[in-house]
Symmetry: C2
Amino acid sequence: MEGKKTVRAAERALDILLCFTRKRELSLTEITRMTGLNKSTVYRLLATLEDKGFLVRDSETDKYQLGFRVWELYANLSRTDDPAILFLPEMERLRDTVEETVSLYFRDGFERIRVQAVESLQAIRRVAPLGARMPLAVGASSKVLVAFATPAEQRAILADPSWPSSVDRERYRRQLEEIRDQGYATSVEEREAGTSAVSVPVLGRDRRMIAALAVSGPVERLTMDRMKEIVPRIMEATSRMQKMAAK
Amino acid sequence: MEGKKTVRAAERALDILLCFTRKRELSLTEITRMTGLNKSTVYRLLATLEDKGFLVRDSETDKYQLGFRVWELYANLSRTDDPAILFLPEMERLRDTVEETVSLYFRDGFERIRVQAVESLQAIRRVAPLGARMPLAVGASSKVLVAFATPAEQRAILADPSWPSSVDRERYRRQLEEIRDQGYATSVEEREAGTSAVSVPVLGRDRRMIAALAVSGPVERLTMDRMKEIVPRIMEATSRMQKMAAK
DNA sequence: AACTTGGTTTCGATAGGTGAAACAGCTATT
DNA sequence: AATAGCTGTTTCACCTATCGAAACCAAGTT
């Protein structure tokens, strides 16, 4: 599939690191189970990761968790212009007016990734783990991220062989046009049972999309009417975000 | 040195990742130079890192930079109880009252690492890159981090063979006692010419130290007298932080 | 046209990573 | 006390996947 020549040992080490996006604390055996690798292989790789400071182990439980080095790398990632931090205040403000969970998504290849979220304060609410990756085929934000991508990107995405066959591409394509027209997308129990969502693109200067901002919640509360009602609220937020991103 | 059996390929991959803490954008040849590895080795490892999403390459310059996966990992690092975020408001408050740069340091092995910083708003100020690593032998925060470590940790640190010979251990040990007595440490042009700093430990519940909070600035402005003056300010901040950390 | 400078590919030799299995240390169960 | 069961750790012989030199391209420079 991937033509590139890669290094297996390194690949495995990175896979192990990524296990920690699913669970904060992991023991050696848990990791061997998750990765399907041999126990001693994992053992050696864990030793390397620990040695380099990417993992630390809790002195009591002996379980591993992500170490300082991750933090260090993060600190050198984007930073000042990091929308995940930059937009946070605006997202909180939106959350307070609509009283539902607000999420910010980026597109990364054929997936979207939740880079920031502030949760509704209501008892019944959508919980949204950061860093979660989801397919581009379903969900309001996915459709926004595809609809406002450049034509070339769009072609690439729709040509993706891993696209689920359950999603009718023609119908999807028509939806995209509609979304471009009205400037927002909605979804009702599309990706996740019991939740619906509205999403709006966040455009940078030169009109290129940088992210999708979404409000999501339980279907009972977030009806179609309610969503249409709050679209202007979201747009206010995104337009302010766009001003921030422009400077 | 390190008795543990580690995996070389993985080690190298991680080394390459860490190069990006020094420079945000790197090309293949730059990395080969920095690491001293063979060009094709680096090439393959970069392919692996890119494949796994830890690096992305800029379509124009062809240079690599850290990718989303780093963000994803970070998002799953501590988080809720992450002092780097938790203490930020308190640090800003302190910055506003003392009008100097405020930094938060953790100890990691035989180094300290700047995990958070808010900069003085004055024109002349200490700039403080996040994630920077510094030796434990010099600097106000280093001394705090050593002085308030557990006896066992302290022994380990002082026994570190890489300890610079220029630092007199006996004198250092006496300083530590003094610091424990008075509850804070100062330094004048110790690690960095032209800057001085005051530092105070942030203790968690059960009195164990979790970090060192420091105020630093140019020697002209941050005189000994001035530092003694602001010690109570810092302590107010740390005591509030301690309450936050306790819950 | 010869010479850089950067990324990419090939290929044979062998370092070194791999996995099975044994070991050790601990707790729960009999 | 003996047993079983679950960790993490270490050993070792095999052989594959990794490595580095060198060749190869493709763009710029001189």
